[in-house]
C-alpha cells in the first residue's frame, strides 16, 4: 500500500534489500523493482541503486515522477547519465567512500596471485608440499613496475600501497594530472608494456569498454599480471582467457567480471588466476558510509535541497 503522504522510493535490486528497513524508518514507502506492484511505477520519486546494474531507458521512462538515482556504489556504469540529465533526473554516487577498501583488496589480489598464496594454500591442503629443493620460486615485488590504469581515489590508494612494497609506480588515464607524483605513460598499451603488474582502477564508461584488449594483454606479456578491481566491462574477457590459456599473459587476479556472478565453467581451464566475488569495495566499514550517503541524498532530494556527491 502506498500512502500518498509518504514519498515512494524504489530499490533496484535484491542485493540492496537490506536498505529497505532504513528507508522505511526514515519515513518512506519502499517499492522493490523485482516485485513491483501495479500503480507503484507512477509514484516512484527516487531509486536507490547499485550502479553496475543496467537501468534501461524504457524502465526509467515508466517512472514519470522519478527525480533521483542515488547509487550506493562508487561506479554508475549501468546509468546513462547524459540521458538522465536531459530529463531532469539527478544521479549521485559514493565518491571515494571505499577507496581504501578497494585498494586493500587490489593489493591483496596482487600479492595472493604474484606470490602464489591461493595456489600455495591448495598445495598445503592437497598434500603437495614436499621436501623438494627450494627452486622454482616466484619473483619478489621490490623494484618491479606497477601500472595503475585510472588515477582517481582508488588508483591513488593503490599506488601508495604499491610504493610501500617498494614497487615503481606508473599510471595512465585519459587526462593529465599535473599534481600526480608518479609518471604518466603515453598510452594504455605503453603502460602495459612498461609494467610487470597492471591494475585496472578506473571508472567504467563507454569510452573504455574492452580497453584492456589483446594488444594491451600482449604488451603486459608472459611474465606480466593483470589485476581488475574496477569493472569487468573494461577488459576483453575472452581475450584475457585466451592469453592466459596460451601463456601470452602470466597471471590474473579478478574481482569483477563481464557477467556477475561469473559462470563457474568459464574459469575451469584457465591457469594462474585468483577470482573473488566482487567483494573489494564491500566492507562493514564502507557499506554503512555508502548506504548512509545514498539515504542522505534521497532525504535532500525529497526535501527539495541540493544533493551531495552528484556524479
Amino acid at each position: 500500500m502506498t500512502d500518498a503522504a509518504r514519498p515512494l522510493v524504489l530499490i533496484s535490486h535484491q542485493m540492496l534489500s537490506p536498505v529497505q528497513q532504513a528507508l522505511e524508518a526514515a519515513g518512506y514507502d519502499v517499492a522493490r523493482r523485482w516485485e513491483l506492484v501495479p500503480g507503484q511505477a507512477d509514484q516512484v520519486r527516487a531509486i536507490v541503486h547499485a550502479g553496475e546494474i543496467p537501468l534501461s531507458h524504457e524502465f526509467l521512462e515508466s517512472l514519470p515522477r522519478l527525480g533521483l538515482i542515488a547509487n550506493v556504489s562508487v561506479g554508475y556504469d549501468g546509468v546513462d547519465v547524459p540521458w538522465c540529465r536531459a530529463r531532469g533526473i539527478e544521479v549521485t554516487h559514493a565518491k571515494g567512500l571505499n577507496a581504501d577498501d578497494v585498494a586493500d583488496h587490489a593489493i591483496g589480489l596482487l600479492i595472493a596471485g604474484w606470490r602464489n598464496i591461493v595456489a600455495g594454500d591448495a598445495v598445503v591442503r592437497g598434500g603437495g608440499w614436499r621436501d623438494d629443493p627450494r627452486v622454482g620460486n616466484r619473483p619478489g615485488l621490490r623494484g618491479r613496475k606497477l601500472g595503475v590504469m585510472g588515477l582517481g581515489a582508488i588508483g591513488e590508494a593503490v599506488a601508495v600501497r604499491g610504493a610501500a612494497l617498494g614497487m615503481e609506480i606508473l599510471w595512465w588515464g585519459p587526462r593529465e594530472k599535473p599534481q600526480a607524483p608518479w609518471p604518466r605513460a603515453a598510452s594504455l598499451t605503453a603502460l602495459a608494456q612498461a609494467s610487470d603488474i597492471l591494475i585496472v582502477a578506473c571508472r567504467a564508461d563507454e569510452t573504455n569498454r574492452k580497453a584492456v584488449d589483446r594488444e594491451v594483454l600482449d604488451a603486459l606479456g608472459a611474465h606480466g599480471m593483470l589485476v581488475n578491481v574496477a569493472r569487468g566491462s573494461i577488459v576483453d574477457e575472452d581475450a584475457l582467457i585466451a592469453a592466459l590459456k596460451e601463456g601470452r599473459l602470466g597471471r590474473a587476479a579478478l574481482d569483477v567480471f563481464e557477467t556477475e556472478p561469473t559462470p563457474v565453467a568459464r574459469w575451469a581451464d584457465v591457469p594462474n588466476t585468483v577470482l573473488t566475488p566482487h567483494s573489494a569495495g564491500g566492507t562493514v566499514d564502507s557499506i554503512p558510509r555508502m548506504v548512509g550517503q545514498a539515504l542522505e541524498n534521497v532525504r535532500l532530494f525529497i526535501a527539495g535541497e541540493p544533493v551531495m556527491s552528484a556524479v
Copy 2:
C-alpha cells in the same frame, strides 16, 4: 671420491641440493648429508645449511674438522649457537636479505585472510556466488590495529606496509628500541590484547618457544587474526587449532608450522585459515642473494679470512 686438495663442504638437506653445482664450480668437493659416504665425515670443513633444520650435537661431533655452519636462511633455530661457539664452529646467516619478500608475503596473508580472498576464490569456483544481499561482509583494515611481534628487519618492513594500509602499528619485543616510531606494548599478551591482527615476525630461539600460547590467542580474541611468517615453534599450534575450532580466535594465516611439511589432516577441520608452504622468504630475487652470501662465507672461511654476517 674426496680429493685431499679440495676442501669438503657438506650440504645438510636435499632442499639445498641446487647449491651443489655452485659449490663444485667454486672448487669444493661436496658431501650430501642424506647420502653421506664413509670417510667423508672426517673431512667436512663447512656446512651449507637451512637454519630451521636441527643439527644435533651428536651429528656435529661426528665432523671433527668442522669450522663453519653457513646458513642460507635468515633463521638459525636448528643450530645451538653457544654450543658451536664453545667448540670454535662459526655460524653465519642471511641477515635481512629477504625482509621485503617475507613482509610482502605477510601482508598478502593478512589481506588474503582478513578480506576472504582465498575463501572468495573457492566461492567463485564452487558456484557459491549468488545474487544475495550484500551483507555479511568483512571489516576493512584502515584504523585497525596491527601488532608486530619482533621489530627486526622483517618486523619493520611489515610495519611500514601496514602503515600504508592505514593501520595503527604497535609492537613488542624483549628489548627496547628507542628509535622505533611505533609504541612498544608492555608484554606479548598486552600486544595481542590491543591488536586486531598479530603478526609473528621475530627470530625463534629457546626463549620464545610456544610463546604465542592460549593466553595470547585468547587476548587476540574471537575477532582477531594471527599471521605467522617466522617459525612454527613460536606458536603453540595445538592451542591455535583449538582456539580456531572453538571460535575463541577469529582467523589465522600461516606460512610456517610446528612440523614441515605440515600434515594435511591436521588442518582439515580448522576453519578460517590460509596456509602456505614456507614460501614467504624464497623468491628468485632473494634466494640468489642468500645463497651467494653463504657461498662467500664458505670461501672466506676456507681462505682463513673473517666471515660476513655472523649470527
